[in-house]
């Protein structure tokens, strides 16, 4: 393998180069250990944090923002979105409340409070 990536872990956006074979990948260009982990993950099983909103059904025109509690497999982004689309919550709801559990290995949690 010889792959060039832009790291998405932080805004610095390092250009990473990955060489070697699965199980023995070498990463260069990273400025921190997270970058190395990202490059390995990206070449073996890419993951992303998904953020969206869920409708608060007992408040007019109100949405609560949500995120996956940890990154989920990239290929399941739209599956997670389908689960989020189907969800409805009732206010009051506090930031941090788990709205959906175990969606492709992560929970979907509220990122803001709605009184």
């Amino acid at each position: 393998m010889n792959r060039t990536l832009t790291c998405i872990i932080c805004p610095r956006g390092c250009t990473l180069t990955v060489t070697g074979e699965k199980g023995a990948l070498t990463v260069t260009g990273n400025s921190c250990p997270k970058g190395e982990q990202y490059a390995v993950d990206e070449c073996t099983h890419p993951v992303r944090t998904v953020t969206s909103v869920v409708r608060v059904y007992n408040r007019e025109d109100t949405m609560v923002s949500v995120k996956t509690s940890s990154p989920i497999p990239k290929e399941h982004i739209f599956d997670v979105m389908n689960a989020i689309h189907a969800a409805r919550v009732r206010a009051p709801i506090a930031a941090g409340t788990v709205i959906l559990t175990d969606v492709y290995g992560a929970d979907v949690v509220a990122t803001k409070s709605v009184d």
Binding site: T6, T49, S52, V53, D61, T62, M63, K67, M81, K112
Partner: protein, 416 residues
């Protein structure tokens, strides 16, 4: 007339951080005025993650980042006037604001401006064509989707590759819309590299550089746009014009600091940043009035906004407690490859190190920045790459500044 030691105009990330810093520096009588119904500013609609890595050491979404600071504001009992719009600011720090209770007039000892910025509109871009519904600035679409819960379109073209545009490309894709293209007038993107990857590449959205929207079509709702490549003078190359059917055009073509109040108070504005001219304390040329965050210079990271606001908050507190910051200062100027440097003037006899923030004129590979005053080099910094979309920060040691009388220039040289 009410009186308060410090009045903070705007309760977004800059205003909250400034108020907290001022309070912690010992000025307890600080109030925040905000036009919206809650603190948080634009972060409330920025539901994506990526905030706080630099400042808080963890990755948060916009609302979470805002909540961190809101909790600090509440913990200190800092008084907040929401749904309160500041309509006037005088040279002698009388703040006029309007809210449902009436018209407020507050005499402040110091004022911190933290009004943020607005998006460049279609009118300011002067895009020819019809004037249908479906042309949104990216932030307006973001608010309608993320706060109010409405789809703004199904088939989208985005003009401008600023971060909000990139974030909205992903956001609309996630909500089932088809994003046809992101067009960028410049030969490079104005957004962060990570956003190109995770917002465009992840979703297979093409980014067309040196390309603009030449015409908007559709009488009632947008029916399509004509896009075309531009030459190096940004003139449309007619032969490349092509039509893309779509029902929505999002504009993400730059942010403009919202400085109406600033101008009315007689504060000088830097034509390049669009914000006030300030010293390293973020004090404007009207004594006792400070500015921080996107109203001062458009930041790409909220973390830097908070950092800048803390500088302003502490300095405003010092101003209330001790008075003037001292007279000896020199100006800063952008040199080769540098578009602007902030602060625009620096006190030379201070005891604190001074960080200079700057943006480069175009993308570069490896560069060395040199901060100099006449022949004297005050600081240097090497970066593996530099881009206009990413703000650079270079710190000058306080002792290096002592005795400097010539303007401080920051320039870059490209390294092999």
């Amino acid at each position: 007339m009410l009186t308060h030691d410090i009045v903070v105009v705007g309760g977004g990330p800059a205003g909250m951080a400034a108020a907290v810093a001022a309070y912690d520096a010992g000025v307890k009588d600080v109030v925040i005025l905000d036009r919206d119904d809650a603190l948080g500013g634009i972060l409330r609609q920025c539901i994506h993650n990526g905030f706080g890595l630099h400042k808080l050491g963890r990755e948060l979404t916009g609302p979470e980042y805002a909540d961190v600071y809101r909790a600090e504001v509440e913990k200190r009992g800092i008084k907040t006037y929401c749904e309160t719009t500041v309509t006037g600011l005088s040279h002698d720090r009388v703040v006029t604001a309007q809210c449902r209770e009436g018209l407020l007039k507050i005499q402040a000892k110091a004022v911190i401006l933290a009004m943020g910025c607005r998006e460049r509109s279609r009118g300011a871009l002067n895009i020819p064509g019809t004037r249908p519904a479906g042309v949104y600035s990216a932030g307006t679409a973001q608010k309608l989707m993320n706060c109010d819960g409405y789809h703004v379109g199904r088939r989208v073209v985005i003009l401008g590759s600023g971060d909000i545009g990139l974030i909205m490309a992903r956001r609309m894709s996630l909500e089932g819309a088809h994003v046809e293209a992101v067009c960028e007038l410049m030969p490079y993107s104005g957004g962060l590299a990570r956003n190109i990857v995770q917002c465009l590449e992840d979703y297979g959205i093409p980014l067309y550089l040196s390309t603009t929207v030449a015409e908007i079509h559709g009488r009632k709702r947008v029916e399509g746009v004509s896009i075309a490549r531009v030459d190096e003078k940004r003139r449309i190359i007619e032969a490349t014009r092509r039509y893309i059917p779509c029902d929505t055009l999002l504009l993400s073509c730059g942010l403009i600091p919202e400085n109406e109040l600033t101008r009315n108070a007689g504060i000088s504005i830097d034509p390049i940043t669009g914000g006030a001219l300030v010293d390293e304390n973020r004090e404007t040329d009207v004594p006792g009035i400070f500015a921080c965050g996107n109203v001062l210079q458009v930041h790409d990271l909220v973390d830097y906004v908070s950092e800048e606001a803390e500088i302003a908050g502490c300095a405003a507190a010092a101003r209330v407690q001790k008075g003037d910051a001292g007279a000896a200062f020199v100006s800063t100027t952008p040199g080769n490859g540098v578009r602007y440097v902030l602060p625009q003037r620096v006190h030379t006899e201070g005891s604190e190190d001074v960080s200079l923030y700057l943006r480069v004129t175009q993308p570069f590979g490896k560069v060395r920045f040199t901060v100099s005053a006449g022949e004297t080099v005050l600081a240097t910094a090497v970066r593996l790459k530099a881009a206009p979309g990413e703000m650079e920060k270079i710190t000058v040691k306080s002792e290096k500044l002592h005795g400097v009388t010539e303007p401080i220039k920051v320039s870059l040289e490209v390294m092999a």
